[in-house]
């Protein structure tokens, strides 16, 4: 499943990097009622500005979000913004600009570096914490599930061409923390039963623990999804990508905790057991 989604993401053109990462100008402007999205696109195309336009109407305002790639040699975004404004003002009357984000190319690099740092830090901290609270073999299982979730969430974002901007990055990092949640609940149950003294073989212990915690896992994911779905439909355009990625992440988090984390722990356990006789 992982492979299929990554390939879909690739076919759709890879990740749709937002201006926060590659620089560019994003403008939310209100036009007169009669203006259509095609007219806006054409005007900008004619002016030689590579662009993408989306309708973001709230209520009865005819609003569009216009994203323009940085023009050559524009180190600050100002030239691109002037160009876009000039082009739109030239063709349409009464254009009101409600918001403007101009990001120069250097910022994108800064943010990319920061993003990598954050992701690596997260992975490191999770691994240490899990190894500390549970045994190492559990940590392995949890990390595999975690990495799976994050990669798949990113791939899904690419497949749906979600604009990858800073809030989406925050969503990915939230998934980091959240994906481990469900896994911990299951592991906690396993650990508790092991401590209480159980005669069940490891595999069956895992299975029954998962069953026992299943109701909790499902309900929690359901409630959290309620929050995020509310955000998705009502939270406004800015948080759209963010909420969508979180929806993927939460569902995946539950799925991976049940179907990936624990089996991996079992597999690792068996793998280690096979190794030890060899050493002896």
């Amino acid at each position: 499943m992982l492979i299929s989604f990554i390939s879909i993401a690739h076919m759709r053109g890879g990740i749709n990097w937002g201006i926060d990462f590659v620089g560019g100008v994003k403008v939310v402007a209100e036009f007169e009622k009669s203006v259509t999205i095609h007219e806006i696109r054409k005007t900008l195309d004619d002016s030689g500005i590579p662009n993408s336009v989306q309708q973001v109407t709230t209520g009865d305002k005819n609003e569009f979000s216009v994203t323009g790639k940085l023009l050559k040699k524009d180190t600050t975004g100002a030239k691109t913004f002037d160009a876009i404004k000039g082009s739109l003002d030239g063709k349409f009357k009464n254009v009101q600009i409600h918001s403007n984000e101009s990001v120069g190319p250097s910022i994108g690099n800064y943010i990319k570096n920061t993003a990598w740092k954050m992701i690596l830090l997260c992975i490191l901290m999770m691994t240490i914490y899990l190894a500390f609270r549970f045994e190492f073999r559990f940590s392995v299982g949890a990390m595999v599930a975690l990495v799976h979730d994050v990669i798949l969430s990113i791939a899904l974002a690419g497949a749906f061409q979600v604009e990858f901007d800073i809030p989406v990055l925050a969503a990915i990092l939230t998934i980091f923390g959240y994906s481990v949640n469900d896994t911990i609940v299951i592991f906690d149950r396993i650990r508790e039963r092991m401590a209480a003294g159980t005669t069940l073989p490891f595999g069956e212990l895992i299975n029954s623990s998962i069953n026992q915690t299943l109701s909790r896992t499902v309900i929690t994911v359901f409630c959290t999804l309620l929050s995020v779905i509310a955000l998705f439909f009502l939270g406004g355009e800015v948080l759209h990508g963010f909420s969508l990625v979180l929806i993927f992440g939460f569902i995946l988090g539950a799925y991976s905790s049940i179907f990936i984390a624990s089996p991996v722990v079992l597999w690792w356990e068996n793998f280690i057991k096979k190794e030890e006789p060899k050493k002896a």
Binding site: A78, L173, G177, T220, V238
Partner: protein, 552 residues
């Protein structure tokens, strides 16, 4: 009720009341005091009153002071009222401190720029260029120092502009971030920031200048369109004319009458030595030159007067004395006579704005490093308001949906969980108020997310209690076992989310930090509510001896 239970109840009550008080400055009524100019007339007072209709606000007037009470009086409104072009008769305005602010150190939760409208600018210090000029590399400490110096100067410049509560801070060693609430069109501020402000008088060389002009035509160099091109052109021309080590080539800039922008016109050769610097100028004011054009008239310091006299001494008669502003030559009048009085005029086809900016900059000093704007985000107030509405709607719907589900699935226990959720929200808001927090749209998202995550703790406990009851334990034991077993699970799982959020706080930028902080605080408040408050409620329930069945 046992003594311990009574104590717990008191603690919970106290925390709740305290929290509500902490939240008051934000959601409660505020008062804004507006002082008008002495010559403000009745019409103008009416105009201002119209902005605050009596349906939403209570306005009382006392001589030239207006007292306005209502909800939602924040910085954006303050900046609106202080706008000189709309309300020129307003002398000053401020929002009175809420009693909770002084008594409890509560602070109003600020709205981020994406919610109240305003501009955010990020300036990049050009250390590459500086290193090239200085011929050596700068280490981190140097860069930090210079950036801090630049920050102070920028702050002075912005203060003079009159923006209420701007936030100016460094980002890394070489960037400065400005947050300007209520500023819808930052063009004027951008112009102000764009000028580094180095002002220098330098003697020029007629012969070499003529050669340089020739070289430009022979080498077929086109007039440069940006600094990088200008630098490259200067290097080529310097080589061609074999410019001596104590002189350098710069470009002379003229103003285009149609676009009103300055552009490089021709190369000119000047001595590297500075005859008179901005620091030698004691005071400056807008004025006119001999031809009546806009200029900056200034007086020098005592030392400066001497330097100026030397530069304009008879031995230099006939040479041009160029005025260089930000490495651009703006004028180069020929020296006709010695100037002893230490008074002169800086001329150079300036626009109105430029003269004012220049005067201010000379007074405060030049920026130690060139800055350029690399990021700009502006949000108009209507979009900001839309975002707030959207966030609140999403939060309300999420709360209702979760409540419905919990009550249907867990019955009365569900109700207890929801009350816990509301308390959770109040405690979290209180903590944020106490921290003096700035709320952004991602911050609202974090809050809504916390609702879903918070309910998780309750679910874990309830499912455990249900299981114990299913296994045949009596109610009281089931409850205590439920909480006991659940404790570490809740702790561990919440902690991982908090860890992820903490990393975001440390490394993230403004808006994301807000999101991470709301999430973290929401979860911490949740742990308190789930493991202390809800537990208490259940202990109370369990202590009733007749309990045989639990509504769960």
């Amino acid at each position: 009720m046992t003594q311990r239970n009574l104590l717990t109840l008191l603690i919970i009550a106290a925390v709740t009341v305290l929290s509500i008080m902490l939240v008051l400055p934000t959601v409660g009524m505020n008062e804004m005091v507006v002082v008008l100019n002495d010559d403000a007339n009745a019409n103008q007072i009416e105009q201002l009153k119209k902005r605050f209709p009596s349906s939403k606000y209570k306005v009382s007037v006392d001589e030239k002071t207006l007292y306005i009470e209502g909800l939602g009086l924040n910085n954006a409104v303050l900046n609106e009222v202080l706008k000189k072009d709309e309300y020129p008769f307003v002398k000053e305005a401020k929002i009175s401190a809420h009693w909770a602010e002084s008594a409890l150190l509560a602070k109003r939760i600020n709205l981020g720029l994406d919610l109240q409208g305003g501009s955010m600018l990020v300036l990049q210090a050009d250390y590459d260029r500086m290193e090239k000029k200085m011929g050596r590399k700068l280490n981190e400490k140097d860069k930090n120092d210079i950036t801090s110096q630049a920050l102070d100067l920028i702050r002075n410049r912005i203060d003079a502009f009159g923006v209420s509560e701007p936030q100016i801070r460094t980002r890394g060693a070489d960037q400065i971030e400005l947050q300007l609430p209520g500023v819808r069109d930052p063009k004027a501020i951008k112009d102000l920031l764009g000028m580094t402000g180095t002002v220098e008088y330098r003697l020029g060389d007629h012969e070499l200048t003529a050669k340089a002009k020739e070289a430009m035509t022979t080498l077929k160099i086109l007039p440069p369109t940006d600094m990088a091109q200008a630098d490259a052109a200067i290097v080529k021309i310097s080589e061609e004319i074999k410019c001596p080590a104590d002189k350098e080539v710069l470009f002379y800039y003229e103003r285009d009458k149609t676009t009103n922008k300055i552009y490089p016109s021709f190369p000119i050769v000047l001595e590297k030595a500075i005859a008179l610097a901005g620091s030698d100028i004691a005071s400056a004011a807008p004025g006119n030159d001999d031809y009546g054009r806009l200029a900056v008239s200034f007086t020098t310091t005592a030392e400066g007067a001497q330097k100026f006299a030397e530069a304009t001494a008879p031995k230099n008669k006939g040479r041009p004395l160029a005025i260089v502003i930000d490495n651009k030559v703006r004028s180069a009048p020929t020296i006709n006579g010695q100037i002893n009085a230490g008074k002169a005029v800086i001329e150079g086809s300036f626009s109105d704005d430029e003269v004012n900016i220049l005067v201010r900059i000379i007074k405060e000093g030049a920026l130690p490093v060139d800055l350029s704007i690399v990021e700009e985000r502006t949000v108009g107030p209507s979009l900001g308001q839309d975002s707030i509405n959207a966030g609140i709607k999403a939060g309300a719907v999420a709360l209702i949906a979760i409540s419905l589900f919990m009550i249907v699935y867990y019955k009365i226990s569900g109700l207890i969980a929801i009350v816990g959720l509301v308390l959770n929200a109040i405690y979290a808001l209180a903590m944020l108020s106490w921290l003096g927090f700035t709320l952004t749209l991602p911050g609202i998202a974090g809050f809504v997310l916390t609702l879903g995550v918070a309910i998780d703790a309750n679910v874990i406990i309830y499912e455990r209690i249900r299981e114990e009851i299913r296994n045949g334990r009596n109610v009281r034991t089931a409850i205590s076992m439920g909480f006991e077993h659940a404790f570490w699970t809740i702790f561990d799982s919440n902690l991982t989310t908090v860890l992820a959020a903490l990393i975001l706080t440390l490394v993230g930028t403004g808006a994301i930090k807000g999101y991470a902080v709301t999430l973290t605080i929401g979860i911490i408040a949740n742990m308190f509510v789930a493991l202390y408050v809800t537990k208490f409620v259940y202990e109370m329930i369990a202590s009733r001896r007749e309990i045989k069945k639990l509504s769960i």
